[in-house]
């Protein structure tokens, strides 16, 4: 067994040398797309370049990305959900206390991040992550008993993100001629709508990945 490890290390080191040498050869001048991306910024509907790339120039990538997250949740469900969170364990005094302070703060900053995305670094993924964290905190500190919401709404929440994105992409075709091309002047509003729905779906997906159970999402 030892020899294999050494052999692998030698090969990997060789690989490192080749990789380093190749990385060394990457031209350090910016032959990137940023000049074009920044030039197109005015008619992309947002001021921040990364959000423009994520939700306008390469919106199709983001759509696929959300589908990947959905696939992970469907995967967790198909594999039989990880060990269920003990919903009825007693929580002790500390967690609920902290939660009552932290939860509003988390929700507030999630919404702020969402709004920030228009002209600063932020957007649906960052706020989705915060929402997911808030969900887990709420779940851990909540009083024992089942989820407050019915399974159907959980499913809608999960699917709404990528469905709205997809439907917007399809419904704009008659107006702008191609898939996912926002008609002139409506880019900002559409992007905002998509950001909100995405944030909600991503938060829910992350929550389900952590604490999902059959009873939560499957129909009775």
């Amino acid at each position: 067994m030892k020899t294999i490890v050494n052999l692998v290390s030698v090969v990997v080191l060789l690989w490192l040398a080749v990789l380093a040498w190749a990385l060394w050869h990457i031209p350090l001048t910016d032959s990137g797309l940023q000049t074009l991306a920044l030039a197109e910024l005015p008619n992309s509907g947002v001021e921040h370049a990364v959000t423009a790339v994520l939700l306008n120039y390469r919106a199709y990538d983001t759509l696929l990305e959300v589908v990947v997250l959905l696939a992970a949740v469907l995967g967790a469900r198909a594999a039989g959900w990880p060990v269920a969170l003990p919903l009825n364990a007693d929580r002790g005094p500390l967690l609920p206390g902290v939660a009552s302070v932290l939860l509003p703060l988390l929700l507030l900053s999630a919404v702020y991040l969402l709004w920030l995305g228009k002209h600063e670094a932020g957007g649906s993924f960052q706020s989705g992550a915060l929402l997911g964290a808030a969900g887990i905190l709420a779940l851990l500190s909540a009083q024992p008993g089942d989820w407050p919401v019915r399974a159907w709404t959980v499913r809608v929440g999960l699917v709404i993100g990528f469905s709205i994105f997809l439907l917007v992409g399809v419904l704009v075709i008659p107006f702008s001629g191609t898939f996912l091309a926002y008609p002139f002047g409506t880019a900002t509003e559409l992007i905002l709508l998509i950001e909100i729905v995405l944030a909600f779906s991503i938060g829910l997906a992350l929550l389900l990945l952590f604490a999902g159970q059959g009873s939560v999402i499957d129909p009775p």
Binding site: V5, W15, W24, L33, Q34, V50, L54, A76, F125, L209
Partner: protein, 97 residues
């Protein structure tokens, strides 16, 4: 040796360290960790590409954002499968596996 080149090389180094860990380590959890190290390695390469120009190039940054979400989903799925897999399959008990 501008700072961009340094980050590029460290990105490559992280990738290779992760690769070594993935191949050598037998325990599945450590393999997943190794994969995450490789992820961060590639993202560092991408970000250093973005940093080559003064207003940093937004396209690699968007690629990194997307890459992070994909990496999170893949790792989450791997961990879910790991937790569900009957324990006699995953050799967690062996620390140096």
């Amino acid at each position: 040796m501008s700072t961009v080149a340094i980050y590029l090389l460290t990105g490559g180094l992280l990738f290779v360290i992760g690769l070594h860990g993935l191949i050598v380590r037998r325990s599945l959890l450590r393999k997943i960790l190794a994969l995450n190290i490789m992820d961060s390695g590639v993202f560092m390469v991408l970000l250093s590409l973005a940093a080559r120009s003064d207003p940093p190039d937004p396209v690699p940054q968007a690629m990194v954002l997307t890459g992070i979400v994909v990496a999170v989903s893949a790792t989450a799925l791997a961990l879910v499968l790991l937790v569900i897999a009957p324990s006699r399959y995953t050799d967690e008990h062996d620390p140096n596996a």
